[in-house]
């Protein structure tokens, strides 16, 4: 990813950092929940683990680690830090 590019959260490489830049196709209730767990616009996230076979990936979000499946991670837009 270059500095101006926006990608989905699913595309972050293991160990790479990115910032949440928006949400695509997610209901308002879920956007609110994601903000509450730390996935707010501007929040820094790190992909800590990318298991094979499209299994859910692990992201360090603020002071916690969350596992997200492809469906939801694809709907979160990120930009490089």
């Amino acid at each position: 990813m270059n500095k101006t590019e926006t990608n989905s959260m699913w595309s972050i490489n293991q160990g790479a950092k990115a910032r949440v830049s928006g949400f695509v196709g997610v209901s308002a209730a879920y956007i609110k929940r994601m903000r509450e767990i730390g996935l707010d616009v501007g929040a820094e996230i790190i992909c800590v683990n990318r298991p094979p076979f499209s299994a859910p990936r692990q992201f360090q979000i603020c002071d916690g680690v969350f596992s997200l499946d492809k469906e939801i991670a694809d709907s979160i837009q990120v930009a490089p830090c």
């Binding site: 692990q58 916690g64 680690v65 499946d69």
Partner: protein, 604 residues
């Protein structure tokens, strides 16, 4: 009596604190969403009410909705004198998002709030600190630094809660803090100023996750852990089972040796020691199963197992979140069905509830154990590494799992509507060393609950079976008893499997509860004259002769049949539909009979 509400984010240690303060032994584990029901218990002169954990006052899942609705309702109740809000010092920002929302609702209703800042031992362990005084100043309410696991800071907290419940007005902040803020931003600010850096903890967690969740290592670890779980039920429990069996034999000898022959002695020997006693022999296995499941929960591994299973389970209409209810189903289907409340998607939740009864619950354990002891020789395979009986046992559990996945896939394809789905987001709790005392306590409780729940049913049915089997011709005339005549009427149902009427009676009796099978069979063998080997029901059946095909058909039947009235009642309550449990009962009974017939035909 005044009430104190205990609230907080999932996995913040509420239930363990609740147990410590009240002395009860509610289930505690290291997995988000273990408390799915509101529980209450006495604390000094007051009542403590533990709510399911939630990330927000805007609920997404059923368990969150129950917690939030009840919290909002309770807060205006005059009995409620205070709120104890749990904060996880290792996840301070996330805890504060909910805590600030709860604080606002409580203070606006005139109810004081006290914060318990838990897991401070973990923070100290990494050489960090939380500015408790600063946090207390900014929150405007008392904050107590505690460690529920190490029992630190609980005396001060208990005294404060007692005072708050007695004099709530003294705990209301003066002046009232500003409550007009965005809780997400406010939580971030407070964490930035007063919180600790938990990078060190996360680094260790991430390193372990890279092993347990990635590729071959994680897959192998998962299979080995599951295999060990089922092997241990047969290996660890054996000394305890032997001890119970010997104890029953000894007690029987003491009680009946000097008794005059007659009906009372026959009843004690056949029904009490032969029937109820043969069921008690298997209780240690239930304790071992509960202990191992507790160990996995406490360590934090269960959340990882949910992640590992997510992809496979989604293909059959389930979710990674279905894994924990499934695993709980190995102990008992009833709490497992409640645990499915944590699944946000209504469709996946329904599919999980409908297939939980196929997980081999502890009530099936005595049936499996008895038949395996009868049918499978005590041999080791793979150079002594694997116990053959343990392997068959594992196979039966696997059969239940495979059947559940198959049924779910079929229902997802043809019966259960495909609604808008809910994404999979799961917080991974930190890895922790288990706390042994609550685990042992939980294992003992499981035995106690199992005996008290099933005991009276088993006793009642054993007495009925004994009376019907003893009269009108007394001991040794089972074939010419009322039970024998009735049994011969239903014999054609299970005759195609090579089973005589005694098995038919035991199977039909076990439609009330599966455990009844062993007791019923034990009583009938007792009446028939096998009393010299009272607790050795397996040996009696072996001596009597049962073919491998018949026994395996019976085992397959028990894996698939839904023989539990309580499960059907809870299923009805949770799905809010009277017909679904009826369909489930009929469907699983037909499936079990058909699969049993196929098994018999294949082996015979």
């Amino acid at each position: 009596m005044s009430n104190i509400l205990v609230v907080g984010k999932p996995n913040s240690g509420k239930s363990l604190l609740f147990n410590r303060l009240t002395g009860v032994t509610q289930k505690v584990s290291n997995f988000p969403g273990v408390t799915v029901e509101i529980k209450s218990a006495s604390f000094r002169k007051h009542q403590l009410i533990d709510f399911p954990g939630t990330y927000s006052l805007d609920p997404l899942t059923k368990d969150e909705k129950i917690a939030v609705d009840q919290f909002i309702d309770s807060i205006s109740n005059k009995r409620v004198k205070g709120v104890l809000c749990m904060l996880d010092s290792t996840r301070l920002e996330r805890s504060l998002v909910f805590a600030l929302q709860a604080q606002k609702v409580a203070l606006l209703a005139g109810v004081p709030v006290v914060f318990a800042l838990n897991m401070m031992d973990q923070i100290e362990l990494i050489g960090e600190t939380v500015d408790v005084a600063g946090l207390q100043r900014d929150l405007g309410c008392k904050v107590f630094a505690i460690s529920t696991r190490l029992n630190q800071g609980l005396n001060e907290l208990s005294d404060a809660l007692d005072q708050m419940a007695t004099h709530p007005e003294k705990f209301l902040p003066e002046p009232m803090p500003n409550l007009e803020f965005d809780p997400i931003h406010r939580a971030h600010e407070l964490h930035e100023v007063y919180g600790a850096s938990v990078e060190k903890l996360l680094k260790t967690q991430n390193r372990l996750d890279r092993f347990f969740l990635s590729g071959a290592g994680g897959g192998v670890a998962f299979v080995v852990i599951m295999l060990l779980l089922f092997q241990s039920i047969f290996t660890w429990a054996v000394p305890l089972m032997d001890a119970v069996e010997a104890g029953i034999g000894w007690l029987s000898g003491v009680v009946t040796t000097n008794m005059a022959d007659g009906m009372v002695k026959d009843f004690l020997v056949d029904a009490m020691f032969g029937g109820v006693g043969s069921f008690l022999v298997f209780v240690p296995q239930i304790m071992v199963l509960t202990f191992i499941i507790g160990l996995l929960e406490d360590s934090g591994y269960l959340a990882r197992a949910s992640v590992i299973c997510h992809r496979g389970l989604s293909r059959v209409g389930l979710s990674g979140m279905s894994f924990v209810p499934y695993l709980s189903g190995f102990a008992c289907a009833i709490p497992a069905i409640f645990a499915a409340r944590t699944i946000a998607s209504p469709r996946r939740r329904l599919l999980t509830i409908l297939t939980i009864p196929l997980m081999s619950c502890s009530a099936r354990l005595p049936v499996y154990s008895l038949l395996i002891l009868v049918l499978i020789p005590p041999e080791k395979i793979l150079g002594g590494l694997i116990d053959l009986r343990g392997l068959v046992f594992f196979g039966l559990y696997m059969l239940g799992i495979v059947a559940a996945l198959f049924v779910s896939a079929m229902l997802a394809k043809f019966a259960v509507r495909n609604e808008d789905d809910v994404p999979f987001i799961l917080e991974l709790p930190p890895y922790r060393l288990p706390t042994w005392k609550p685990l042992i306590q939980r294992a003992l409780n499981s035995a106690k609950a199992f005996i008290s729940k099933a005991g009276h049913i088993i006793f009642a049915i054993t007495v009925i079976v004994w009376v019907l089997g003893y009269f009108p011709n007394g001991a040794g005339n089972l074939d010419n008893s009322y039970l024998g005549w009735m049994g011969q009427l239903i014999e054609p149902i299970f005759e195609p499997w090579g089973l005589d009427w005694r098995y038919g009676v035991a199977i039909l009796a076990s439609f009330v509860a599966r455990e009844v099978f062993v007791g019923t069979l034990g009583t009938m063998y007792g009446i028939a004259g096998a009393e010299e080997n009272i607790a050795g029901l397996a040996a009696n059946i072996q001596a009597d002769g049962i073919s491998l095909a018949s026994g395996m058909a019976l085992l397959v039947f028990y894996v698939l049949a839904l023989q539990c009235a309580s499960t059907l009642a809870v299923m009805r309550k949770e799905v809010g539909n009277n017909l679904i449990p009826i369909y489930a009962f009929i469907g699983y009974s037909m499936l079990a009979y058909a699969a049993g017939s196929v098994t018999y035909w294949l082996i015979a």
